[in-house]
Symmetry: C2
Subunit: 309 residues, 2 copies
């Protein structure tokens, strides 16, 4: 029951050797999702053993080049590799035109279907759902419409306590009802209280991706109690004027959001290339939010199951 | 008087870590030219210390993704770095629309001018000229219009023999005439034969870039006597059917062109990722054309001055 984030790129603006543009891979139960796709994303995917054909969906936060310039190459590579499975791409208005232009000019006989889902950058909506996960948008504050993504594992079915299984001879419909949290009426009359015979096996896990954005307490509200909060920190606090001017955040501001949200862990990224020592970001954020780490290419963050009992 | 080729990418189709898509840098007298621009080209430029702001012109052979997907990111980076100097881009019909689309969507207030020069993929034309170099197109045979580029150093001015400088008291106009190969009339009457007092300091150098193309003897005619001939060899001869089908060449075919052209050196590249051992390409070509090398990312090839005398 994997829930793992892999960093493909942690830099901002210009890519450089070892410092690629924004791109994260989220692996949820061995289903792979790509979040943002800067230039060289497909190169990083090969480096870290992620098969482009396994991508279920791509989520694009906004139409700045360092978040999308890898998309044409990745789509072409999927076509070259004879992908047949449809690919979902979630993005803000305007992205479809960019993808369509690419397909028209470079892949006119595309082997697979691209299902584009336009998202609204102004509200937090449920945009994707499968058996185990829901994805919500996070409106961000940037120079152009920009939105983050909150990936939430669904509340799991309740487990039935071993002693209850031994004591009662549950029918299959009864087991189904119990797993769904319902009380059941036994054959001989009495009502069996669900909570007496079942338990929640684990708390749903969550990952929030917030890039690019200026400091926005509204973000903190939406990502409340998230396990792993990725928040951009393009700048250090000493350059907060630059951050504000360019619609970005400082490490301090990212830490404030993590604190406000009561996140379990804060992951910083989207560093400006002006800073050579990235530990400055970590140290600055840790003064406000101690459980902070910085994103490096190839880093993996497993969000582990926490049992409720 | 540098004349140097740097390989940024030598792979075909899909880029991979360490094996980037087509891109060469040509440095002629410390003026930098980029030839093709696959995804990740700007990353490779940073790796090998080539400043994007120093690029005078970009030459794009054709509109397949592995030759152009790095262009949007590179243009955006130049803009981010506040380039002011105009940039020449040479390409086949259709490339301008791709560049315009990019600028419209990602760099609407571009700081610098892009001067697009449409080239004809069907004829060998002089498309660029400055004080020291001329560039000619090389029509190629590919699945879509495709054209290579022949970079030729101009015939240098003649040098005046030291003893002539000592013996005659040349005026500045006379020196100018002599350097340009003209005979001059001396003040006291006699005609001074140019060849008696001057010599050609060195032979003009040349570099030919031929990618992507099926085997085409016409290419061999155009690149006659070139110093360094880069010719694609996507496949080995055992896969020549695949080569023909996809409009590419084998190492053997590239070697035949080098032999026909009487090139000084053959450089192979654009290798299909199906082959793990690239020495097979070199060995195959060497059976026909011994002075063959294979392109690896970061390799530099200096074409040195050869004195005629």
């Amino acid at each position: 029951m994997t829930f793992r984030v892999t960093i493909l790129g942690s830099g901002s603006a210009m890519p450089a050797p070892g410092k690629y543009n924004s791109a994260h891979i989220l692996n949820v139960y061995e289903q792979f999702y790509l979040i943002d796709c800067g230039e060289g994303t497909q190169i990083q995917m090969r480096k870290y053993g992620i098969n482009p054909l396994k991508l279920r969906a791509i989520f694009i936060s906004h139409q700045h080049g360092d978040h999308v310039f890898g998309l044409p190459g990745l789509i072409s590579t999927m076509n070259f590799l004879k992908r047949g499975t449809p690919l979902y791409i979630f993005g803000i208005k305007g992205l479809k035109e960019i993808i369509d232009f690419h397909i028209q000019h470079f892949e006119p006989g595309l082997n697979f279907e691209i299902i584009f889902k336009e998202i609204n950058a102004r509200s937090s909506d449920l945009i994707f759902e499968n058996k185990v996960m829901e994805v919500f948008t996070i409106p961000l504050r940037h120079k152009i419409p920009s939105c983050g993504f909150l990936f939430k594992e669904k509340q799991p079915l309740r487990n039935i306590k071993k002693e209850a299984v031994d004591n009662f001879n549950f029918t299959i419909p009864q087991l189904h009802s119990l797993k769904n949290g319902e009380n059941i009426i036994m054959e001989d009359g009495p009502v069996l209280n669900n909570k007496e015979v079942t338990y929640v096996p684990y708390s749903p896990r969550s990952y929030a991706y917030c890039s690019d954005t200026a400091y926005s307490p509204k973000v903190g509200e939406i990502v409340k109690n998230t396990d792993l909060l990725y928040h951009e920190s393009t700048y250090l606090e000493m350059d907060k004027k630059l951050a504000k001017l360019s619609g970005h955040s400082t490490a301090t501001q990212a830490a404030k959001i993590a604190l406000q949200a009561n996140a379990s862990e804060l992951l910083l990224g989207h560093f400006s290339s002006r800073y050579k020592d990235l530990s400055l970001f970590e140290n600055e954020a840790k003064e406000i939010f101690p459980n902070t780490v910085i994103a490096n290419e190839g880093d993996q963050f497993d969000i582990n199951i926490k049992n409720e009992d």
